[in-house]
Structures are given as C-alpha cells and as structure tokens.
C-alpha cells in the first residue's frame, strides 16, 4: 500500500507532476477514498481557474475521430454518412471537378480569411531582411496596426518555411507557411503584438524583420 498524498493533491490538480508521479498517485487513489477526495477538491478549485481561460470550439472532425476511436457509432456516424452522401451527390452534380475538395477547400479557406482580414483592417507592411543562404527568397510581412494579426508573404520560398515571432522577449511559434507553387504565406494571430518575425528552415534563419507600430 503506497503512502497517502500530501501536497501532491494540489500539484496533481494543477498539472505540475510528471507522468510517473501521476501514475503512482492514480494507483493509490484507486484504493484510498480519503486521498481521492483530496485530489477531487483540488481539482474543483483548479476547475474554477479554468473560468479565466477562453473556451475553444473543436472541429467537428475531431469529435467524429474521437467517437470512432472509442467505438461509439450511432448518431454521429449516421450524420456523417448523410453528410458524405450529400457531398457525393454534389460532386456528381459538379461533374467531379471538385474532387480535391479536402485540401483545396482548406486552402481556399486560408486565402479567403487572409483577404477578408486585409480588407477589413488597417495594416502596415515591412520587407524582410534576408540572410546569407536564403537563396533568392524575398519576403514581406503585412501586419495589423493593432497587432492582432500578421500575414507573411514569401516569394521563391524554395521549400518549407517555418515562421516564428518574438512577443515581449519570448518566442512564439506561428507555424509553417502554406506553400502554393514556389510562394508561401501564413496568416497568424499572435496572443499579443509581435515585435519581430523570423523565417527559418530546419532551424536556419532565412529572413527576419522588426515590426514597427506607428
């Protein structure tokens, strides 16, 4: 029989323990209701802290994926089938021209979003300074005056481009730029105003720029 919990109940609830410690505690909780209640109480308090976090809406696909993995079929799968059937009929109606609906649709979504974002805000732009080894790459960052988004445009990308920003001295990973032929773009919504933006490939910096909010 393992030891009762002390301060670990609170650390557990806040996510401060390593997986090994948690596994040890889980085993104990299965046999000890006193400690189970301690952890439960700490979890209720931690739950209240979650009220300060923004909620997010997971994609419908992620719900379907979870339920499928859990082997929970009924309503969802039927719905998914209905949707798939409708999509198939639409494809037939369109003469199969939209067969690449998956990635193509996502891509259109990204560029539509970029267009809408640019049209509806006031923005600034800066050319990025390229480093040695950047090849013929040329890039520009278009960014909102209020810092709520920035849009990276890369010409002659020459491969995958990772985009990072510096926000209040900390590094923020914006993501990989979306490639279209030899160009690449990324629309990012940083948690706060980005002070600079950097492009890299395999950890090598290709270009960077400091953003000035005038």
């Amino acid at each position: 029989m393992s030891a009762h919990l002390d301060d670990d109940a609170e650390l557990y609830a806040l996510g401060l323990l390593e997986p090994e410690s948690r596994a040890r505690i889980d085993a104990h909780l299965a046999t000890c209701d006193a400690c189970l209640r301690l952890v439960g109480e700490a979890e209720e308090t931690a739950l209240q802290l979650a009220a300060l976090l923004p909620v997010a809406t997971p994609s419908p696909q992620s719900r379907a994926r979870l339920l499928a993995a859990a082997g929970e079929p009924a309503p969802v799968r039927r719905l998914a089938w209905a949707g798939a059937l409708a999509a198939a009929l639409l494809l037939i109606a369109l003469g199969g021209a939209w067969l690449q609906i998956g990635p193509a649709r996502e891509r259109r979504h990204a560029s539509e979003l970029a267009v809408a974002t640019l049209v509806h805000s006031h923005f600034l732009h800066e050319a990025m300074e390229t480093r040695a080894g950047a090849g013929g790459l040329a890039a520009k960052v278009v960014y909102a005056r209020d810092g709520s988004w920035f849009y990276v445009l890369v010409d002659r990308a020459g491969g995958e481009i990772d985009v990072d920003a510096t926000i209040a001295g900390r590094r923020w990973l914006a993501g990989a730029a979306l490639r279209e032929g030899d160009t690449a773009t990324l629309l990012a919504r940083p948690p706060a105003r980005a002070d600079s933006v950097e492009l890299s490939r395999d950890g090598n910096v290709l270009a960077s720029v400091r953003l000035r909010y005038r």
Binding site: L14, A42, A51, V55, A56, L67, A69, E106, L173
Partner: protein, 186 residues
C-alpha cells in the same frame, strides 16, 4: 452561481452514463465539455490541432480505462479538466522538438482557427477577485503554474526559491484560493 461542489442534475446524469460506459456516454460528455476542455488544452499548447490531439488522447484514455473516474472524487467536469490539463502539460514538457514540429505542421489549422469566445464573464470576475485576495506570493505561484504553464523547477527559478518551497507554496495557495472562492462577494 458558486456551484463548485453542487453538481447539476444534468451533470449527474451525464456522469452516470459516462461511468456505466453507456453507448452515448462519451458523445454527450464531449458535447457538454469539449469547449471547456479544448480551451484548457489550447491554453497550454497554444493552437488548435495540438489541443485537439491532446483532448482526443486524454478523453479516449479516460473512457477506455475502467474506473478511471469515481463520483467520490468530485465532479466529472473537474476530473476531465485535470486530465486534459495534465496531458497538455506532459506534452508541453516532454515534447520538445516533436511538439514543435507538430505545431508547425498544423499551421493550416492555425489559419482556420475560429475566434475564441470569452469564458463566462461573471464567473471569471469572481475567480479574479478571489485570486486578488490571495497574498502576493501565493498569487504569484498560482499564476506561474496555471496561467504561465511553468514547471515546479521553472517556478523555483523564476521566484528564486528552493524546489521544496515551491511545492508547499503551490499547495497552500490552491487551498487558500478554495477558501477565498467560497467567500461571497460583498
């Protein structure tokens, strides 16, 4: 309003279905808590695809582990939030380059992220007020741990404290927060 312990009838029924692993149990839990849980994961991991992966793994593990949750523990909601947060923190700590690569690979998802909705503002104000009533050093460890997602060692470094002190202070702070949350707003 302050129903941290009081489970609603809905939540009770939901928990009962979940515990019994009834056919709809997981999908109903998902419908009710996914936004909250995705928010918790998203706060740690920073973006949608990584948060959804985390949510997927955490929920699936809980669902597939018999007796992973017992009602004696407290609410199912609080338990699931803790599971998801723990999974997210493990990914953040252990992932290193791998998590980074995954985050980058999923940049497309970043682009299509829907704007986040604010959490219940009344509840948020109440929690903020309770946090504000904590002694400064306690508030600081809670903020470092929960909102800045720091590890015990990182908190120790930030605050210049021995590791053992951090552990005790975090625990004390959370217990004190519980007391403050129980205080009715004046």
């Amino acid at each position: 309003m302050a129903d941290s312990r009081g489970l609603s009838r809905d939540d009770d029924a939901l928990a009962a279905d979940f515990i019994a692993r009834r056919p709809d149990g997981l999908s109903r839990v998902y419908e009710r808590y996914a936004a909250l849980l995705a928010g918790v994961a998203g706060h740690v991991l920073g973006e949608r695809a990584a948060a959804e992966d985390c949510l997927h793994d955490a929920l699936l593990r809980v669902w597939q582990t018999p007796d992973s949750y017992r009602p004696e523990r407290g609410s199912l909601r609080a338990f699931l939030v803790a599971c998801v947060r723990n999974e997210a923190m493990s990914r953040l700590r252990g992932g290193g380059r791998r998590v980074e690569r995954e985050r980058r690979a999923s940049a497309l998802e970043t682009v299509t992220l829907e704007p986040v909705e604010p959490a219940d503002p009344v509840d948020a104000a109440r929690v903020r007020a309770a946090l504000a009533r904590l002694p400064g050093e306690q508030r600081l460890v809670i903020e470092s741990a929960y909102f800045d997602n720091l590890t015990q060692a990182q908190i120790a470094a930030r605050l210049g404290l021995p590791l053992g002190t951090v552990k005790g202070r975090v625990a004390l702070a959370l217990r004190k927060l519980k007391v403050e949350l129980a205080v009715e707003p004046r």
